[in-house]
Symmetry: D2
Subunit: 339 residues, 4 copies
């Protein structure tokens, strides 16, 4: 049994981790921490967890934490993990970090969009936890930077197509849509039921910090700088994320070529489902699952390829992928505890 | 043209007042005030109002307010109106108050559930603004205490039946349900989209302060103390309220008798719609309207009468009824600006 | 491994069974049937199931079905199971029937609300599959009549209280609310998104056929006829069901007594969670789970006890409880495949 | 008073027309017709209309209809209007047609996407009822082809920018999203609450017939053929539509230039609201109104302009614009009955 601990267990992604790890056949969840809810049973904070997890939230204490844990999930606001993770590693604990702190190999990008990085060497050596594309590196990683939700939808869809020369690197547009849980459990007018219900709108149209994360990985895949247009929107639903991505086919390439490349890339990956021609991904089909559904359409007239990619933002877009990363790191069946 | 002002224009009920009064054929909306948004155009706070109202939120100043206004709507948290309303009256302004401060004739009830009343004499002389049942007193009122939303659903349904001796005063239960906007625009975990969406639950099961308001009016109608059981619930919808009320028929009385009494009571009231036998009220049918829909069912076995009553909590349950009160006070067609 | 088959796999309850049984550690799902979708992979009908179940819907053929199955789930419209189940039993297959056909010991009640029963002897010998209350009989049952969703909420809450003499048998009212999936996948104006969204209303106010099912079990528990008032409503949510039940406390009994009885009754039952004093059940907390959450409140003035009971109507109210029944019948851990 | 009639009053757009025309200060609604609901009061079909309109649905009879009506609204499935409208014109009735039958000047486009046109001469002479852009022609039109909902969002946003040379005609992409009411009141699995709620997906990705309508008008504005990529999606909300449109700025042009052109174009148009820099349109702000809100963003790196355009699909996207067209045709204040 792998001993797992969660630092920051009371946000939405933390609670999903508690739920999954409590029921995971190969894991013993030994510690959960929370600053805000120290001393409270997690089932008081999330009544849905009662009867499933009897743990009480603790304050984080590095030493006792490391004694009880083989692998740590840090589900904390950006900036806190870079302070904590070095200590965890020294304590012999491997880490899946759900913040942005270890997602960037090029720390300058991180610093341009977030803040100065105090553990930049570690970040440069961390592995980007997009399971299907970095599986080999994840296996031996000490620190995995779990990808952002939007990047997960876009990168799973585009990296194979770019690498195979199916689509052009120029002019990519992602019109992306997220359920409200993507904004977390904190209070804000935008998350007020009466403002989000029956609403639909774009947000952060002047720049969302998932864009540099996407561009770093696309650029690496392409071997040259890739710039995209990325506009996120808010869906009046709790969970789910869909990116509708507009690309230009390389001269002579077709939707069928794209389909073939994706089928080959993901043939052995249990959590990527390629939709048949004429079928489209729907967030309804991936909610409460770790799947990423990808569909394709094309417009014969303009050489345009449209790639649609759907996930549950809290699972494949966060905690589900984190568990999948743990499974890979621990040599377990990638699907363990996730189906 | 009647000159109207709104004190506290930036909550949900205030914004509904702005919308209706701006389009009202007999009203000029001259002043809106807001502590929080002083200096902001109301259309910045509520973009839906842009192109409809060009007013800028002001700080409240009694003297200049009274100079520009014939009738004031106070859409403020409980406790503030009792401080402000006496001054408005002295300034020659009539008032429709949307808080609880002037709903109670028996100030002791108010004080038991809210706080000490600093204008109790005024409260005892104010008129309860349930338009269909207090129309005559409202006409000449200086201060109208606009009813709570739950009380509106329950009292419109029950007062005529109690008075006519159709139902017994004992054992009345109201299982009531409200859209989330009833909790206002303030931030709380309960109003967070992800907590309210796909949710349904009771709240304040140990006592909601609309109960004494309901009981005071029912008791007056009955001529003796009436006690009810009242359990409110939250609907995962923005607007709308339904009370399902369980009563006992007086021996020998029937659903048809109840229907006849309600039909007679509300025959000349444009905003109460009695549903035919076999039809039920639905919040969908009253949303964005000032109507109250009432339906009836009965269970032959137990002498049980079930009365269902639906409104839009922000309109007939608050701002719509406030405008209806103003129409009555000003001698206008009761429907003006409301259809 | 238990070999399981589903007859009628393409309704909402059938699809939930496919999902759970495909992932169940002790079950091999060997056959799924569908009249409408014969020949289609289930993942074409429910894309959410792709990557989880590769079965193709078959036409139902008694002989080949019985050869491949130890236990059958019949997820069919009322009336069809009574034709099919006798053959299954002869073929050596045990049955969990999700329709109403085997829920009634008193077949006359069934016939008054449904239709003539063509396998009435079998119905009289079937076991009512309310797991927590009929566990011992379920263990050896050949046919289990899986309870209706509303009855599950009401009976789990009331049977122990009635038996223990905490509440009176007279005057019980259940104001119940269900998510839209309770109406099934068939098309009707009432299930149209634009009619159900932002809507809330009662339905079947003149009599819902879950009432006789509830009354039969309550009467058996009480040892004398019990009649209730039962008004169902529709929640604008996909899943979840809450009953708010109004009872009269027996003289001298209290909310605490009720709490103690329920705690004792369900102490060893993993799927009933008693909420602490002051906490209420929320359908949000039971969605996508097999839990039933029960909460209590009381109104000191009237000797009134309010019992609230929440489930996921498709799981504890249908397919989850069906799997729980199978676990009990097969001697497995009651929780297997359900957490 | 203008006498108005509605042919096909019981769909969602018909019902909105009934609601608005009943309350319109300059209109008498004299006839409503419905094949399906002949003989029923409209308030039986839409209980929300009770107390607002007492009309009974009639069968359509050309002669008696023309006697009682100055202007007709045809809210019928495509293909029926082209049979009926010629007779209405002969009967001296002016027509606002809400179907696609009279939207195309180039009938070949219509025939490629719909069916053979049996009144093609009439279609070529009809006026496209996009009020803000065709106001002068609408004034004297005998037949107005009321625009599709998606075209309304896209054309109001793009036509002025194209004409003024701000954006290039190549490579335009509209990622559009509609509430479920856009699919009408007919029953289909896609409109089932449980399939549309908490769902988000693209549809008709291989070609939606609003595309040729959009392209015809854009091409006319540009003076040369314009082709766009258009992908519609379904929002889990009843009403509202948002198009996020990706354009390329003409070399040297900026977001500010675009803003200025739109401000000038719509300065005198009461129903187009240009959002300030940094603000985005939200369907919540236009629901239940006839407004179209337009916002702009740009991505300095790529010369990309993003134009966002939001309407209520049933109002500015259908019935509201139809009333606005009638107002223009009748020489009324454009806003009459619409604020």
């Amino acid at each position: 049994m792998i001993k797992a601990g969660i630092i920051g267990a009371t946000g939405y992604t933390g609670a999903e981790l508690v739920r999954m790890l409590s029921a995971h056949p190969d894991v013993e969840l030994t510690v959960i921490t929370s600053r805000q809810y120290e001393g409270s049973p997690i089932s008081d904070v999330y009544p849905s967890l009662s009867g499933r997890c009897e743990l009480v939230c603790e304050a984080f204490d590095l030493e006792t934490f490391c004694d009880r844990v083989d692998i740590a999930f840090t589900a904390l606001p950006h900036k806190i993990p870079m302070d904590i993770v070095p200590g965890l590693l020294k304590g012999g604990v491997r880490v899946v970090d759900l913040s942005a702190d270890f997602r960037f190999r090029n720390v300058a990008d991180y610093e341009a969009w977030y803040q100065p990085h105090t553990a930049s060497e570690l970040s440069e050596k961390a592995v980007y936890g997009l399971c299907e594309l970095y599986r080999d590196q994840i296996r031996d990683a000490r620190v995995v930077g779990n990808p952002g939700c939007y990047p997960t939808t876009i990168l799973l869809a585009l990296v194979p197509l770019l690498k195979a020369g199916i689509i052009r690197a120029e002019g990519i547009i992602s019109d992306s849509k997220s359920g409200v849980s993507g904004a977390g459990r904190g209070l804000s007018l935008g998350s007020h039921f009466c403002e989000a219900n029956e609403s639909f709108k774009a947000y952060k149209v002047d720049g969302h910090r998932h864009r540099p994360e996407i561009e770093e990985v696309l650029s690496a895949a392409h071997g040259d700088a890739v710039e995209i247009t990325f506009i996120p929107h808010l869906i009046p639903a709790t969970r789910g994320m869909l990116s509708t991505i507009y690309c230009t086919l390389v001269e002579g390439k077709t939707e069928d070529d794209a389909r073939k490349v994706l089928a080959e890339t993901y043939g052995a990956s249990p959590f990527v489902r390629l939709r048949e021609k004429g079928r489209v991904p729907d967030i309804l089909h991936v909610q409460h699952t770790n799947f990423c559904d990808i569909g394709l359409a094309s417009d014969a007239r303009g050489g345009r390829l449209v790639v649609m990619s759907a996930i549950d933002n809290l699972l494949k877009g966060a905690s589900g992928q984190a568990v999948q990363n743990m499974n890979i790191m621990a040599g377990l069946d990638e699907r363990a505890g996730l189906l």
